[in-house]
Amino acid sequence: MTATADTHRLTTAKAMVDGITAEMDRDESVIYLGEDVGAYGGIFGSSTGLLDRFGATRVIDTPISETAFIGLGIGAAVEGMRPIVELMFVDFFGVCMDQIYNHMAKISYESGGNVKVPMVLTTAVGGGYSDGAQHSQCLWGTFAHLPGMKVVAPSNPYDAKGLMASAIRDDGPVVYMFHKGVMGLVWMAKNQRAIDEVPDEPYTVPIGQARVARTGSSVTVVTVSLSVHHALDVAEKLAGDGIDVEVLDLRSLVPLDRAAIVASVRKTGRLVVVDEDYLSYGLSGEVVASVTDVDPSLLRAPVARVAVPDVPIPYAHALEYAVLPRHDRIEAAIRAVAAA
């Protein structure tokens, strides 16, 4: 896409901030709080510039006290505000999970729907840059497993802005998981798919609708977030070998667009699931069940799941790349399923 008067080229991080800015402009009840979200602008650029524009009463730096400030966000949401609360790394959820899944996620149910929690929990996820076992996980399957929260994970600038608007306007809690590798940060691995033209005007991307990122007829690859980029790279390579890959970007885990998964597999008969979260008890198995629950006979070959084997993510670069679902493993899986 080329620039017009109505679009600008943005990184995913800048598009995310653009979406937050638009909502803060139109709704005074939207605030942003978390660690280093003010003057620092978020360690992955998730809030850059918000403090200058909206001031310290709406963009709030918190102490290192996740239970306290996530609880503060829940209280503000219950009282009618629309807080966005940033958990710096999703890996830190252990110190604040009671607030997240016993309070943020359940208050609406426990009150018979009378109390709403219109809150967004933003958090950085993902590995690939040697940050070790406690700073590299995706963990979206964990949040998706627990009822009461929507879970979104944008892969590109357009979706980052549109899903942010939808998340803020949603009357229930939304966990917005941004992979560090899709943010377009220059100190990370360069990723051209993390920069694109984005409309200047506010818009929404509906939560719960997958997107066909590439149309194909041979094999369906269902994936989300950074793995969408890897899958598209592999698909372009395999097109030369006569393997026509369809790539489905889920965009959200909750709600999961099961109909889109089934529709694609109905067409191709072959399924590869690529998930940067752990293999067992997670998204990849859920995607497969979305097909087999409906009609196992849609599958003309066994399914392949490319995920992180059930080990903590290594720090050493070569070992980390060995466990992450990167191009080599994705390509091998697609070739195997296509040939089966």
Binding site: T2, R9, T11, G184, V186
Partner: protein, 85 residues
């Protein structure tokens, strides 16, 4: 016409090589003063380069090209009435 220089990020080495990490505008695009043009990087330090003036921007280096600090990376044609081709 106003030249846009690669900013000096390394004080120790004035001729340090940097990288034009990302262009946020297209060649020939009309920009406003202060609009984000590029993000550039020297070693692990990155900085954003805003447009020094309004006008039509001409990009002088490719994205991901290595550029010595202090060399021009773009021109902004500030002449009134000019428009993109």
């Amino acid at each position: 016409m106003t030249e846009v220089m690669f900013p000096a990020l390394s004080k120790e080495n004035p001729a340090a090589l940097g990288v034009l990490a990302t262009w946020f505008v297209h060649d020939g695009e009309r920009v406003t003063a202060g609009q984000l043009l590029a993000e550039v990087q020297v070693d692990k330090v990155s900085v954003e380069v805003p447009a020094p003036a309004a006008g039509v921007v001409r990009l002088l280096v490719r994205e991901e090209a290595e550029v010595p600090q202090g060399t021009p990376i773009a021109r902004v044609d500030t002449a009134t009435g000019s428009s993109p081709p």
